[in-house]
Amino acid sequence: MPANDGIDVDDHLGESGLDGDNAQRIYRYMLLARAISEKSWLLTRQGRVLFSMPCDGQEAADVASAYALDTGKDFIVPYARSLGAMLVKGMTAQEVMLNMFGKAADPNSGGRQMPMHWGHKKLGIISMGSSVGTTIPRASGVALASKLKGQGAVTMVYFGEGSASEGDFHEGLAFAGVHRLPVVFFCNNNGWATSVPVSLQSAEPQVSRRAEGYGFPGLTVDGLDPLTVYQAVKTAVDRARSGDGPTLVEATTIRMMPHSSSDNHLRYRSQDELDAEKESDPLPRFQNLLVSAGLLDGESDQVLRDAVDQEVESAIEYADAAPPPDPETALTGVYAP
């Protein structure tokens, strides 16, 4: 696989700070995210689920970044494509599917929000709405509270490079810099905001270069390689936890699927381009790395994939059969008591 060429696999693993077990776990999360994303897409095609935002191509970035957190203690402020991170943070395939189907037991919103609008208090996942960018100062606020309370927690906020054009990006980052807050800004730069290429967001396509204007480090990493992502984010998380303030980590990723189930990316991307991009799919690449490192073989891979498949299938079955929210409740819960 291209990006592994010429790299010593064991060195790479070693440098990342991840042992084989953890690498395998990351791989499993990536498989699970991909399987959920693919199956959710199919469910939308079948009309069984009404909306989906595939994360195909982003699994390495999302899973490995979240893997660098202390998942029991830290906070995530997600965005719609952060499925991989949600899984690492403890959301089960079943919970995800309850969300996809908008069911009453959906821990994210009880069916009140569109699919993939995450939020799970018990898991430390801060709720997101659809208005992009608003999450960024919110993450700084979560981190401010951590600091004031001496909570020892780190907050990681995920967003796309398009969303980084919103004014809230600027305001959220500047605040975190001033107060040296324990927060990691994780930008998934997949080059597209729906149909708008990053070149129309900023004349400087590298989002990480904005960090210096706020007085803290920014870096861009290959978001298709979980080890690189893990290593970069781990450094940022450690930095945050030790009181040295925020980091902006930009992961360059690919968006292998349309923006959402309502989008047709062939209106603005060529099939050739999409085919070419598929070559850098992070999943086979990491699979190969694990095989090279002796951490995976054809058989164990299949076992894994079957288990993941089974997990998702039964989650779908469960969620599909779960009761929808009671219409009466639509009127309740506008105000906290």
Binding site: L50, F51, G102, K103, S109, G111, R112, Q113, M114, P115, H117, G129, S130, S131, V132, G133, G162, S163, S165, E166, G167, D168, A193, T194, S195, V196, L200, Q201, S202, S262, D263, R267, Y268, P324, P325, P327, E328, T329, A330, L331, V334
Partner: protein, 327 residues
């Protein structure tokens, strides 16, 4: 004349104004190459080129701010906000800048600007792809707010909005785009901003509405007519400034009024209309002024049975009309 869907009428209006006036340009997210997420602007990039059909960064405040500046330097920008729900980041640019530029410069600078946005629920869009936001802007002196219900009006009002020297907010019900059809003249015409129209004459009760809800009123009026309740349906078309003359004339005739909108009840456009009626048609009222609106909940939740529980529709209007006429 040809029959068109509302979405086509909007596109037609845009195309004609772009062709007629070189100072008109469009800016919005995904409007150029992609033709808009609802396809309203489909084909316009090819016809008018990238200088006049501009894909904006994901930054509503900046986009509206840019448009205000361009308008002050002689252009006539038409901004698409992808969903009305995402107009709030631009609220300050609209309320503090666009709306009061003319007043604050004592008439020196005007801001000929149109903000188009799809609004409304019923498409399983959840809390952020379903909102009605007209009431916020109807409160702002200096803004005009238009909500067409028919393809004919959509084209004619849009053209009027683009030629207007004031900032005009133009809300298109996203469910109406492809479901509402009607006759639309091929060439140039405008529908005046600030004029309501009586969509259906009736003697006993005035249903006053705008946007998609007008169709709900018409549907309800059919049902009610079968029961012997003869409703008049007033389509406000512009919710700011209100055509008080037309709506009062109707209520003075019928003596009963019910305002209908999809926006939530409290502080909605219906409140202002009710207040005007209560004041200026006081002597003519045979029953209290009523409103049919969404309950005071933060927009429509995603799950179909939650959304359906909240969406105001013909049955709600029928129920209220029965109550009113029995009063």
């Amino acid at each position: 004349m040809s029959e068109m869907r509302l979405i086509e009428a909007v596109r037609d209006g845009l195309r004609e104004e772009l062709a007629a006036d070189g100072s008109v340009f469009l800016i919005g997210q995904d409007i150029a190459v992609n033709g808009g997420v609802f396809r309203v602007t489909e084909g316009l990039l090819e016809e008018f080129g990238p200088e006049r059909i501009i894909d904006s960064p994901l930054a509503e405040s900046g986009m509206v701010g840019v448009a205000v500046g361009a308008a002050m330097n002689g252009l006539r920008p038409v901004v698409e906000i992808q969903f009305a729900d995402f107009i709030f980041p631009a609220f300050n640019q609209l309320v503090s800048e666009a709306a009061r530029m003319y007043y604050r410069t004592n008439g020196e600078y005007s801001v000929p600007l149109v903000i188009r946005a799809p609004y409304g629920g019923g498409v399983r869009g959840g809390l952020y792809h379903s909102q009605s936001v007209e009431a916020y802007f109807a409160h702002v002196p200096g803004l005009k707010v238009v909500v067409p219900s028919s393809p004919y009006d959509a084209k004619g009002l849009l053209k009027a909005a683009i030629r207007d020297d004031n900032p005009v907010l133009f809300f298109e019900h996203k469910l109406a785009y492809n479901t509402v059809r009607g006759e639309v003249p091929q060439g140039d015409y405008t529908v005046p901003i600030g004029k309501a129209v009586v969509r259906r004459e009736g003697q006993q009760l005035s249903l006053i509405s705008y946007g998609l809800s007008v169709h709900h009123c018409l549907e309800a009026a059919d049902t009610l007519s079968a029961e012997g309740i003869d409703c008049e349906v007033v389509d406000l078309r512009t919710v700011s400034p209100l055509d008080t003359a037309t709506l009062l004339e109707s209520v003075k005739k019928t003596g009963r009024a019910c305002i209908v909108h999809e926006d939530n009840l409290t502080g909605g456009v219906g409140a202002e209309v009710a207040a005007i009626i209560a004041k200026d048609a006081f002597e003519f009222l045979d029953a209290p002024v009523q409103r049919v609106a969404a309950p005071d909940v933060p927009s429509f939740p995603y799950s179909p049975n939650l959304e359906d529980a909240l969406l105001p529709g013909p049955p709600d209007i029928v129920r209220m009309a029965r109550e009113l006429s029995a009063y």
